[in-house]
Symmetry: C2
Subunit: 520 residues, 2 copies
């Protein structure tokens, strides 16, 4: 089947310019004519005949993709490591390299090692319109660690779960995900290694001999892992014995995947209604109050405690991620300020979350939070957070119901990756009642300095109180794992809210540091 670019105003045509030869109509064959049947071998003539047409189709598909509003991610891995590099070079030769983002697995850099494991992949995710090729993918490291006995079954399952969720998350977001596993019989690998070593020293590394040495032992580990990590998007296994056939098959697979996606834009599923959540917010006791003198005393004690804890956190490289959500005028800024006063600016940064930049909009919505995760030992306070997806984006219909409904799982997985890396996740909802909000709005209007904080929009938003209440209850119900629970903080009284948050932060940090000391 020919790639139907004609529908989109493009017609596959000759690529004489791509090659610089005199302009003659190249007589391009389709892949179906050229790929060998079982037992046959692809002839050089057939291979050459297919190339001109194939290249034009690939480049054209890239141009269609640029306008299509989504991205493509290609995972390329397998024991045939040399084959993977050859395939990538081939794709760069055949396609427009300006719109390919290729990432090679290798040692994580220092900046990458001091953040949750997936940070290095997320930082390389292609924006809409581009193709990202991940050579070695995330799976390769796991295979190595399994074979060396560095991780157990439980850890393998945990990683596999993250892999599957990432595939699903990206696919749901519209990304075309293609996973290619380049297989090669042991004998062929040995032969190729020998040949390539002389010809193209570029490709060979010590790792290749290690792979060869442990080839047989690795097979069952790999088979299991391919199956388990292929639940959302299965791996396509290709035999790389015939290099030309392999390159054609890879290119064809990418083309078909794009073609499929251009022709069949995914139809968003109509999600089932959510099970009603418990009325978490209604359970918050808003009557508590704290006298000023008592507050000053408590605050001073807590800030000193937090200050000392932050010294230990720096020393022990304990990272902390905090998310603050709450009603407008609930006092998030004031609470955050009480935290930062106690911690050196060297260790703590506040991230105000406002409208995403255009680079952020061209990625999965979690990308902009991944890119701002702290290094080990650092504290990041998000003033509003990734929960915008299930709050304002839900209420204002900036996200479709299927989008915000699946966000609960996506967010749980995001936070799980942070806590598994050993960083602390602390989430606060500052709760006030509508009357208190109104009082504060009016007060702000009288305080010149805060006038800018109040607009008609804020008043209009008050009509959405019941909708937000539902959204908060749903959120608390669905994103409260043991190691990253929601803290619903009564904030009608600012003083008691500040003391409560500081107490929670201190206690959680103390516990985390103790746990870390025990581990050492």
């Amino acid at each position: 089947m020919i790639f139907p670019l004609s529908k989109l105003g493009f017609v596959a045509t000759r690529d004489s310019d791509l090659r610089g030869e005199p302009a003659e109509m190249a007589d391009s064959k389709e892949l179906s004519e050229t790929l060998p049947g079982p037992g046959e071998k692809l002839t050089k003539t057939d291979f050459k005949a297919r190339i001109p047409g194939l290249r034009v189709e690939l480049v054209n598909a890239q141009y269609v993709l640029r306008e299509a509003g989504f991205s493509m991610i290609v995972l390329l891995a397998g024991p045939d490591r040399i084959g993977c590099e050859q395939v990538v070079d081939r794709l760069h030769e055949w396609m427009d390299g300006r719109h390919l983002d290729t990432w090679f697995a290798g040692m994580a850099t220092e900046e990458e090692r001091t953040r949750p494991r997936f940070w290095r992949f997320w930082r390389s995710m292609p924006p809409d319109g581009r193709i990202g090729i991940f050579v070695g993918a995330w799976i390769t490291q796991v295979i190595g660690e399994l074979l060396r006995g560095q991780i157990d079954e439980k850890e393998r399952d945990r990683r596999t779960r993250h892999f599957n969720l990432l595939d699903r998350m990206l696919t749901d977001d519209g990304t075309v995900v293609v996973k290619l596993w380049l297989d090669l019989p042991r004998k062929a690998m040995k032969k190729r290694l020998k040949r390539v070593e002389g010809d193209h020293a570029l490709y060979v590394e010590d790792l290749d001999y290690t792979i060869l040495e442990h080839y047989e032992a690795a097979q069952p580990v790999i088979q299991d892992l391919l199956e388990e990590s292929g639940q959302a998007v299965p791996w396509t296994v290709l035999d790389g014995s015939d290099e030309r056939a392999r390159d054609l098959a890879v290119a064809e697979t990418l083309l078909r995947a794009l073609e499929q996606r251009f022709d069949n834009p995914p139809r968003p599923p109509v999600p089932a209604a959510l099970e009603p959540a418990r009325a978490h917010l209604a359970e918050v006791d808003l009557t508590q109050e704290l006298e000023y003198a008592e507050y000053r005393k408590e605050l001073e004690k807590l800030q000193l405690r937090l200050h000392k804890l932050s010294l230990k956190a720096r020393e022990q490289k304990q990272g902390v991620v905090m998310a603050f959500e709450g009603w407008d005028a609930a006092g998030k800024g004031g609470v955050i300020r009480r935290i930062t006063q106690a911690v050196s600016a060297r260790d703590c940064k506040v991230i105000p979350v406002a409208a995403p930049s255009d680079e952020e909009l061209a990625h999965h919505y979690l990308w902009r939070f991944w890119r701002r995760l702290p290094r080990a030992g650092q504290m990041r306070i998000f003033d509003r957070s990734w929960y915008g997806r299930v709050l304002v984006e839900r209420i204002e219909r900036l996200a479709r119901p299927d989008e915000w409904q699946r966000a609960y799982d996506e967010i749980n997985d995001f936070e799980a990756q942070i806590t598994e890396y050993g960083q602390l996740v602390l989430k606060f909802w500052l709760h006030i009642d509508p009357d208190e909000q109104l009082r504060r709005f009016k007060a702000r209007e009288k305080t010149d300095y805060k006038k800018y904080k109040i607009t008609d929009e804020d008043y209009r938003n008050r009509d959405k109180w019941p909708a937000y209440t539902d959204a908060v209850n749903d959120m608390v119900e669905r994103t409260s794992p043991d190691d990253a629970p929601w803290h619903l903080v009564a904030a009608n009284d600012k003083r008691s809210a500040r003391v409560e948050v500081l107490t929670i932060v201190c206690e959680a940090l103390e516990k985390a540091l103790k746990k870390k000391s025990r581990k050492k």
Copy 2:
């Protein structure tokens, strides 16, 4: 003088909420009333009296800045390292920490060390609307290296020149640059170190004792450096003996600098007319041609040579930065493709330069090129480049005359920093004549696959041929240092152009690698 926020619709007011105490009108004094005269000491009462008003002014200034379309950069350094950290914490306490980007000098990370020296500063530059505080600044490292005898006078002068140019470049771009040097007599430093060590272990590091030990020896080095690096923006030296007075003085200096800038938007200078440049383009011989058979032979030889060189470059960690400019349809893409075919995708990336993202627009125009510089050992090919500033932005009046005229110096300095770090800079202008361009436009229209490449805009641009010719001649005249010269490549014949570029790349890379080997 009170900060004139009233003009902008803001009125300095009480900050009771900032502190959480009961709402009473704080009776704030102005700084002029509170700062001690010579020989006097700031009393705690006067300090406290000034704080409420000061904080409101600072926060309000931040809000004005957010809408003002420029950024502020504060360099904070000096022997009083502890004082610097205290000041930063104080600013974070007094200001809105959500809109401060604070960077602490320290060991460069692996990712930073493998790129030109300034890369780590550029990656932390604040976007418009924000304040970036650089603690330790760029100067601290130079002082250390000078005292340890690691760099000579020549290198010191070179760095100082870059510092001054950076100050000027940022200031010219509208950024408010404030440079604060916190001084402290040796005795006071010793005393503070002793006191702080007990109270706030947060601040003290081994480095502080080193500074104390070499205090006297460092003085002449520091004095010279402060003077020499203060040519574009002078350092403000503050005595930090009285911590409260110091904090007030820092805050007041920042306020005054912002106030000054809000009240007096810089008026762009009217630049003098440029000295006419030589007619560089007219000297290019466009008649050369290469037969197809000869071309194929040459190309194969050159690509093999480049392939082998790229292996060595990877091994020797030789970075390469290439910029391709040229007339529309001059064949940039085809030339770039001939290079990437010869180099592994692992080592080489093509950066297509199109419209800047909004994050990029909120920074100095060179920021988007700094962020994409290659690591040591990598090759980056820019398909169009930072020269857009003096070409399309000049012609289309996207940059003012003073902006594109000063860009020559800015670009020379940018490239000098890359070559000084040891990376290779290669710049190509692909030259064709108007008739050849017209032929190619017509041919593209007939080639379905390239139709998207041709628009009415392209035809209209042909009227600007003389203007572009002037711009190219000016550019070549002014940005051709010995170690990063322009290569004007005759491209009426695509084949000879490709062979010429590949030859230049191979020869330059060979030379750079030989030089690198000799150094070892």
